[in-house]
């Protein structure tokens, strides 16, 4: 039996296990309940919440991109730790409020929440569209990650389309059947697996390629001392870019609709506890960066096409010849990609069913809505798969621009909870204005102002419009009532 055969068996073993857990998660729960499918009957406990939030965020990017950043950009990669730490903090304040009002008025999406507060179906649909446009490229990246891992670890014997079909197909099936609970329980398993593997690999490479952590960093510092700091002469990221990236993640993180709607899956107390224990997840990311650092001075840059290949390169060239170990590493990387894609696929299906279909055709009955969501899992899955396998790199780069606008949802959410005067028109104008400015600085402007993150510039415009609009435009009577309800919750 060749090495890749053993690896394939190990990866398949993992996939089967993930599939069983995903399917079993939905057993004993109502298959026909919309609330169960979308928000797990609002009953998740702390254990699941921690892994669900952690696993969702710890994506293929963290596993492949993280080491790549450390290897090629040095200290700039610390940004990953920092945003993971800070990203969830605003949730401590807004999460419980969103959860409480969601339970009272039966919301399951961000579109429900904003649409009801501002009494505007246009806003609901707008939120749905922004969400889906951001979800598809995110998902595409995860699928590409899965395909890549499969392909590399089997020495090209499993083609891209097949590897992605296997792993993502499993995700699609367990999300469609078990809903958010399927995503949550498989995340528990996947998160444990990938964290374990990240630590084992990190420690292994540090000790085989170098003589411990200290030795590794001393060598890097001797080579280029600015590599391990930000904004110095030979550093790879400016101070303004580093700082504004962090600020925008802190504001935008919880605005990702698949994370925001997790407020509806649990109670107020558990949200706060999840935020408290969340920084531990950031600490678990450290070895992932160490993997990248360990490649410096060992792997010549010319060997890699992209820095993101550093982990696969180290595995194929510097790991022992054990096929099983090899397969387990592959499983860990797949787990990272899958635990993000299940939550995103689920989020997209719920947004599509509720924020777009139900908002446009309010007469749709609840059971039909649920079937639309299940069908949307396959639809969104198919589109993302298609783009991932057949789309050109240029197309994917273009689509990734859809990430930027997510942070533009923040003024609406904060205004809903804290700014009584805010009204639908100013929120819609602010959102649109913010998105346009972000996209302009992302694609069309030669340089960003002071090298700031494009999303931050959009946000400034967005907030100004919301404030001006709220001063000059008055609310309708219904909106006024809702404004009171939301700001006093």
């Amino acid at each position: 039996m060749e090495k890749w055969h053993i690896a394939l068996v190990a990866i398949s073993g993992y996939l089967i296990l993930a599939f069983i857990i995903g399917i079993m998660a939905g057993r004993g729960r109502s298959f026909f309940s919309l609330s169960e499918y979308a928000v797990g009957d609002r009953s998740f406990n702390l254990f699941i919440m921690w892994f669900l939030m952690g696993g969702t965020i710890f994506s293929a990017f963290a596993f492949l991109g993280g080491p790549g950043w450390a290897y090629s950009k040095g200290a700039a990669s610390f940004y990953i730790l920092v945003y993971c730490t800070l990203g969830l903090m605003p949730w401590y304040v807004i999460g419980p409020k969103v959860s409480k009002i969601g339970k009272k008025n039966n919301y399951i999406t961000m579109g429900d929440f904003l649409g009801d507060r501002f009494q505007s179906r246009v806003l609901t649909v707008l939120v749905g569209i922004v969400a889906i446009l951001a979800f598809i490229p995110y998902l595409t990246l995860q699928i590409k990650g899965m395909a890549y891992i499969f392909n590399v670890l089997t020495y090209g014997n499993i083609p891209y389309w097949l590897g992605a079909l296997f792993s993502f197909g499993i995700v699609v099936i367990y999300v469609a059947t078990s809903g958010v609970r399927g995503a949550a329980w498989s995340d528990v398993f996947q998160a444990i697996l990938m964290l374990t593997i990240a630590w084992v690999l990190g420690i292994y490479f540090i000790n085989t390629l170098h003589e411990g952590v200290s030795d590794m960093f001393v060598k890097i510092a001797q080579e280029n001392i600015d590599f391990l700091v930000i904004g110095k002469e030979n550093s790879l990221m400016s101070e303004a870019r580093y700082s504004s990236n962090i600020i925008i993640s802190m504001i935008g993180f919880v605005m990702w609709p698949h994370l925001f709607t997790k407020s509806f899956t649990t109670t107020e107390r558990r949200i706060k506890t999840t935020v408290a224990v969340y920084p531990i997840f950031a600490l678990f990311l450290i070895p992932v960066l160490f993997i990248g650092f360990s490649g410096i001075g060992v792997v010549p840059q010319t060997e890699l096409e992209r820095p993101g290949q550093i982990l696969p390169y180290l595995i194929t060239n510097h790991l022992t010849n054990s096929g099983i170990l090899y397969g387990i590493v592959g499983a860990g990387a797949l787990a990272a990609a899958m635990s993000s894609s299940d939550a995103i696929t689920h989020g997209a299906s719920v947004s599509f069913g509720r924020d777009i279909c139900k908002a446009l055709f309010p007469a749709i009955k609840e059971n039909i809505e649920l079937w639309i969501m299940r069908a949307a899992v396959f639809l969104v899955g198919f589109i993302s798969y298609f783009i991932a396998i057949f789309g050109s790199d240029g197309l994917i780069q273009l689509l990734l621009g859809a990430y930027g606008p997510i942070a533009q949802l923040a003024p609406g959410v904060y205004a809903a909870l804290f700014y009584k005067r805010a009204n639908a028109k100013s929120i819609i104008l602010g959102l649109t204005g913010g998105v346009i400015v972000t996209i302009y600085y992302q694609y069309f402007a030669e340089n960003s102002i002071y090298d700031l993150h494009a999303g931050l510039l959009g946000l400034i415009v967005n907030v100004l419009i919301v404030i001006m609009g709220s001063i000059f435009i008055s609310q309708g009577p219904e909106e006024e009532k809702k404004a009171k309800e939301f700001t006093t919750i």
């Binding site: 610390f78 920092v82 903090m89 401590y92 200290s214 391990l228 700091v229 930000i230 700082s243």
Partner: protein
């Protein structure tokens, strides 16, 4: 201001404090390679310390913040 809002306000201030420690200009204090602490560069050690500080901080908030 009621108790709930007061705790939220303090929490927001605490979040901003952590944020400021991790971005410029305050991050300049931690933004250096030496001294190495526990084998890692000072910049990384600074970030890890902030994460631990944040964790302890939120746990204290949780203990105070019991819904009555």
């Amino acid at each position: 201001m009621n108790r709930r809002n007061k705790i939220d306000l303090y929490f927001i201030l605490f979040s901003i404090l952590i944020l400021l420690l991790l971005i410029f200009p305050l991050f300049e204090i931690g933004n250096k390679v030496t001294p190495f602490v526990l084998g890692i560069p000072f910049s990384l050690f600074w970030i890890v310390s902030c994460i631990i500080f944040q964790f302890i901080g939120i746990v204290i908030f949780l203990l105070i913040d019991k819904d009555k």
